[in-house]
C-alpha cells in the first residue's frame, strides 16, 4: 500500500512537473514618467494603484487609457490600499501628532465616480487593519472600526499571529502555524474557499476557511491569488541593509510546484494579480504588467 502510494505520488508529481508557463505579454508601465511601487491591480485587472518608494501618496493608473489619477498625497496611503467589491478604493493614512508624538491612522475611501476621498474612520492611535470581502469592506482599529455592512461574504485579515476569518459577519481567529513575529498579507482565494497568508519565519501558508493548513509554499513573501489554484509571490534576499536579489514566483497553491516568472537577478518585487494579469515593480520602481498562459 505504501509502495502504491509512493508510486501515485511520483506519477502525480511528474504530471504536476509537466506544467509549463508562457509569458504571453509583458508591458512596461509609467516608464520615463515616474517610479511606481506597491502596485495593486483591481479585481478586473483594468486599473492599478501605485505609490512611491515609501508608500506615501496613492495614484491610480487606467491601463486602457494610461491616464493617472491622484487619489491621495498623504503618508502611508499606498502601503495597504485595497479595492472593494463595489469598485472603490480603501486606504489608511498616517500622521504624527505634534503634541503627543504618537502616530494616528485614518481610514479613507476613494469614490471613483466622484473622484474624491472621504474619511470613513476618524484618526486613532494604534493599528488599523483592512479587510476586503466579496460583499463588503471593513477597517479594524484598536479604538474604532468601520464596515460597509456586517455581512461581507468571506474576508480575512491578520493581527499579530492571528488569522481572522470573517464569514458573513461571523468572525473566527486562528493560529494555524507558529510565528512569533506575526502574520501578514492574508487574502481569500477567488472561489472563496481558501486563505493564503504569510507567517514570519515560516513563509506562505494556505489554509481552509477554518484555519486548517492545506500547504506551506516556502519562505516567500507577499502572496496574492492569480486564480483559485495559483499564487504569485516575491522571493527576495538581503544582506541586512539592502536587497541582494528579488524575483517573482508563480506557486501552485497545493505546494506541489513553483515556477520562476522572473530571474533572481531581476530585482523584481511587490507582485499583485487581478483579472488574469500580474503586475510587479523593481527595486528602482520599473513597473511591468504581464499575462501568462499555464499549460496544465
Amino acid at each position: 500500500m505504501k509502495k502504491t502510494l509512493l508510486l501515485l505520488m511520483w506519477a502525480w508529481a511528474m504530471i504536476a512537473g509537466a506544467q509549463q508557463v508562457t509569458v504571453t505579454s509583458s508591458t512596461p508601465l509609467l516608464r520615463g514618467i515616474e517610479p511606481a511601487f506597491y502596485p495593486t491591480l483591481s479585481p478586473s485587472g483594468d486599473r492599478l494603484l501605485y505609490s512611491d518608494a515609501d508608500a506615501h501618496g496613492l495614484k491610480m493608473l487606467d491601463l486602457a487609457t494610461s491616464k493617472v489619477a491622484t487619489i491621495s498625497e498623504e503618508r502611508g496611503a499606498g502601503f495597504d490600499a485595497k479595492w472593494s467589491n463595489d469598485g472603490h478604493v480603501y486606504y489608511v493614512t498616517s500622521m504624527v501628532d505634534e503634541k503627543s508624538r504618537l502616530v494616528y491612522r485614518t481610514g479613507k475611501r476613494y469614490d471613483l465616480s466622484r473622484q474624491v476621498s472621504d474619511v470613513v474612520l476618524e484618526p486613532q492611535h494604534g493599528a488599523v487593519h483592512l479587510e476586503s470581502g466579496a460583499a463588503g469592506m471593513a477597517m479594524h482599529g484598536d479604538k474604532r472600526s468601520f464596515s460597509t455592512s456586517p455581512k461581507r461574504g468571506v474576508s480575512v485579515y491578520t493581527t499579530g499571529s492571528q488569522l481572522v476569518v470573517n464569514i458573513n459577519g461571523k468572525e473566527n481567529r486562528y493560529t494555524p502555524v507558529e510565528s512569533y513575529a506575526g502574520y501578514l498579507w492574508a487574502s481569500v482565494s477567488p472561489a472563496g474557499d481558501k486563505v493564503a497568508f504569510f507567517a514570519a519565519g515560516r513563509g506562505i501558508v494556505v489554509t481552509t476557511l477554518q484555519g486548517k493548513v492545506l500547504a506551506e509554499l516556502g519562505n516567500y513573501e507577499m502572496p496574492c491569488w492569480f486564480n483559485n489554484d495559483y499564487i504569485v509571490a516575491q522571493n527576495a534576499s538581503d544582506d541586512g541593509y539592502q536587497y541582494t536579489s528579488s524575483q517573482i514566483l508563480l506557486l501552485k497553491a497545493d505546494g506541489t510546484w513553483r515556477h520562476e516568472l522572473t530571474p533572481k537577478t531581476s530585482m523584481t518585487m511587490q507582485p499583485t494579480a487581478g483579472g488574469g494579469k500580474i503586475a510587479y515593480t523593481t527595486i528602482d520602481g520599473n513597473l511591468t504588467v504581464i499575462t501568462i498562459d499555464i499549460n496544465q
Binding site: 518608494a53 493599528a127 487593519h129 538581503d238 541586512g240 530571474p263 523593481t282 528602482d284
Partner: protein, 905 residues
Amino acid sequence: MKKFFYTLALAMVVAVFFSAIAAGDYMPHVYINPGHGGHESDDRNVVIYPFAAGDTSGYWESNSNLKKGFALNNCLRAKGYTTSMSRVTNDANSDLALSTIVALCNSSGADIFYAIHSNATGVPSRRNHILGLYRGPTGSPVVPNSDVLASTLMQRLQVNAAAVWTSNYQIAGDFTFYPDWNNQGLGVLRGNHAVSMLSEGSFHDYIPETYRLMNDNYCWMEGWNFSLGADDYFGYSFFDKGAVAGNIRDNRMPRVINDFIMFGDDNREPVSNATVILMDMNDTPLDTCYTDDMYNGIYAFKMLDPGTYKIKVEQEHYFPQTKEVTIEANKSKYCNFDLARVRETPPEVINYTPVWHEGDAPLKANTPVVFEFNWDMNTEATEAAFHIEPAVEGHFRWEDSNYRMVFEPNDAYDVNTLYTVTLDTTAEHGGGMRLQQPFTLQFKTTYRKYLEVIDIFPHQGDKVHYKNAIIELRTDSMLNNSYYYDKIVLTDKDGNALTYNRRNTKTGKNTDPFGFIRIPVASTMTPGEEYTLTIYKEMSDTAGIHLPETIVNKFIAVDAGEEKPDATVIEGFEDASTFSMVAATSNGQEGTVLSNSTDRLFGSKSLQIKYPCWPPFDKVVQAIATRDNALGGQYEFTSTAISEATIAGNEELSLHIFGDMSYVDVMIYLSSTDNSSPKSTPSWVYDHPIFDFGKIDFHGWRYVTGKVRYLTGEVGHLNPNKTYKIESIFIGNEPESPIKISSATIKLDNLLKGQKAWVRGDVNGDGVVTATDITELYNYLLNNDDSHIVNGDQSGDGIITAADITAVYGVLLGPSNGAPAIDPVPVPEPAANSSVKVGPVPSSDYIMASAPSYIMGVELYDMSGNLVARNGGNYMNVGSMRDGHYILKVYTSNNVSSHHTIVKH
C-alpha cells in the same frame, strides 16, 4: 477651603489621567528590530579569543543586538509601553526579510521603530562611536520626527562611560549619509511609517568593544538607554528607577590579550571575576554582581531606587576599592574603577635571554635581549636602568602586561662583537619597589647580518600577465613562515592591496636548495595598469635575520594572450601526441610532454613540458650543434607542424610561455636551406641560428619574441636574403642561473611567426639602438661590410648614406627624434577587494554587489574608462545597456573596488 478642595479634585483627576497613561491605555507602541540573525552570511562574526571563526558562542552582531532588544523590550514594558519584536530567537528562520520587517512594523501600529545594530569599519583601522540614521536627507526625515527620535537616543547612548569613544555621536539621514545610494536608503526604514531610526550603537570590530558586547549587563545598559531615549522622545519622566554600570580595570597594567588596536583606558587590563557589592550608606549589602571572564570588566546594577549608594569592588589580586554613587530616576550612572594590584616583594629577573657563556657558539646579529620579571614593571624606570656596551641604538617592547621587557637593536648588531648588558638597581615594579642587585649578561655575535635575496618576481619593470599571477621571493635561507602576508604586499596604482590565494601558497622546505615563498595572486589585474610589489625589511628567515632594506618593484600588467592579427600560428600546441623527441640529442635524461587544459591562452590546451634541469646550457648548445648526445641531457623535441615550417630572414618567431622561474632556457633551432651564410666559417655556426626566448625567470604567461643568437653564443640576426627551416624546440639550463633547479615545468602556447619589428635606428637587428648600430653603418659605407646590417636604410630612400647615420644619432639622442612610442595606458582598474562580490557575470538586467560593509553606490565604466552610469545602492540596472565588457566600481563606506563584468542580453 473651597479652593483647596477644587485644587485637590483637580490633582486627583490629573493623577488618574497619568495613572491611566502608566497603565498603558495611551502608551506608545514600540517596534524593536534586533538587526541581522541566524549566524549566517548576512550576520557579522568577529573572531575573538578564545572562540574560533563561526563559533556561535563567540561574538556575532545578531547575539548582542538580540540581548539589547530583550533588555529594551523588558524596560519598555516595565514602563507601560506596548512593544513588538521582530525576533526573539537567533536562527535562520528568525532572520526576517527587510520588506517583512517593515510590513510587520506598519501592521503593528507602531509609533516608533528602533533597528538595533552595531557598526564595523571593514578596514584595518578601528574606531568606536555611535551613529544614528533615519530615512531621508539630513534634517528632512521622510517620517517627521525621526531625526528627533535619533537625537534623543544618541544623547542617551553617548553617556556610556564604560566604553571608550573615539569621537562624539553622529546623526544623519540615510539619503545624505549614503549620497550615492540614490535615495534608496536603508531597507528597514524604506516604507516604514513609524517614526523610525537605525542605531549603530558602537563598533563591534573594535575588539575591546567586542568583548564588552559579549557581556549581558553591557547590552542591558544599552537597551535601558534606548528606553530612556524613548521616554525623552515622548516627554515621559514618570518612571522612578535608575541604573548604574561601570568598567573595572587595572590602574596601570596593559592588557594581557593585546594583539588589536586600543584607545585610551582600553589599553589597561580589565579585571575579570571581581565581586561588586552594592551597599547602602550604612555599608549594608543590598545586591552583588560579578565581572565575567570575557576581558571586559563590566558590571551593572539595574532598576535601582533613586538615592545614594556605595559600590565596593573586591578581587583577590587587587586592593579593594569603594565609591559612592547617587542614582537618579530615569538616568544611567556610570562609575568606573581603577584597581591597584597587590605587589608585596621587590622585582627580580626570573628569566632572560640570550644565555651565553664564553666558548659558546656566537649568536645571530639580531638577537633580542629579553628580561622576564616576577612583577609587572614600571616601564620608564626599567628602560632607564638598561645599558648595553658597546652602545647600540635599539628600542624596547613590553610584553605580557609589562612582565617581559624586550630590547631589539634598530639594525643588526656588529658582527663578531662581545656585548655586555646591565640592568641596574633603579629598575622598579608597578608598586615602586626596586631591583635588589644589578643584573648583567653577555653575548657574542656571529658573522651573518642580513637575509640575502636570490631573486624576486616580478622584477622591477617586468610585464606580467594580468590573470593568475604568481609572486615569489627567493632567499639564501629558509624563510620564517609566520605572518609573511603583511610583509609581502601587492598594491594597485591607488594603493589598494590585491588579495592572495593563501591556500595555494608554497614555501621552501629544509630539503630545498634555497628559501622561497611563492604566492598566487587571487585578484585579477588590469592590463596596462602599474602595480607595486613591496617586500618589507622585516621579512626574515627562520633565524630572524631580516632583509637589509625594503624592496619595491613596480611592474605593468599586460595581456600575454592578446591577439596578433599580423602573425601566423606555426604550432598551437593543442595535441601533445604530435610531438616527438629528437633521439640524437635526448639521451635518456629527457622530460615529458603533456597536454594541459588548465593553463592555456589559446584553443583548448597548451603543451606542458617537464624537464630535468641538470645539463648546463653550453653543453646543450654544443650537443645540438654537433648532434652529439654524449654531451646531452638536453631536451629537444619537435612536431610535424614545426618541422615542416620555414621562416624568412626578415621574419621573427614569438612564443607564449608559462614560466615557473626555473631559469631554463627555451630555444628554437633553425637550419639554413641554401648555406649562403654571411660568414663562411664555420658554416655550421651560421647555418644553424637559434631563436632564444630567454631564461625562464618569471611565473605565469609571457609573450616572448626570440632573439637570434648563434651556437657560439654571439647575438645576431638572420640573413634577410635567406629562408630557414625550423627544426625543433629545445630546453637547457642557463649557465648564469643563480641557482640550479632540479626540475622545471613550463607550458607553451601558440608559436607565431611574423615580420620582424622594425625598431628605428636598430641597424643590426638586436632589438636595441646603441652606438654599435652607427659602427655597423660606418663599416658598410667604408668597407662595404653588410654582414650585420638588417635595417640600414633609416630614411627609406632606398640607399644607405651618411644621412642614415645621422638618423640613428637622432634616435640615440631622444624620443623626439623618432624613438618608438610608448604604448597608451588603458583606464580600467583592477579588482582590488575580493571581499566585495559582484554578479552575475554576464548579466542581462541587474548587476548586484555585496560586501561586508555598507555599499554606498556603484559606477559602471566602459573599457575605455568612460563613466556609463552611476547608481546609489548596491545594484546597477543594465537592462538597456549595450552588450560588452565593463568595469563596475563599488563604493563601500570604507573602500572603492573595481570589478570586471559583462553585459549580455
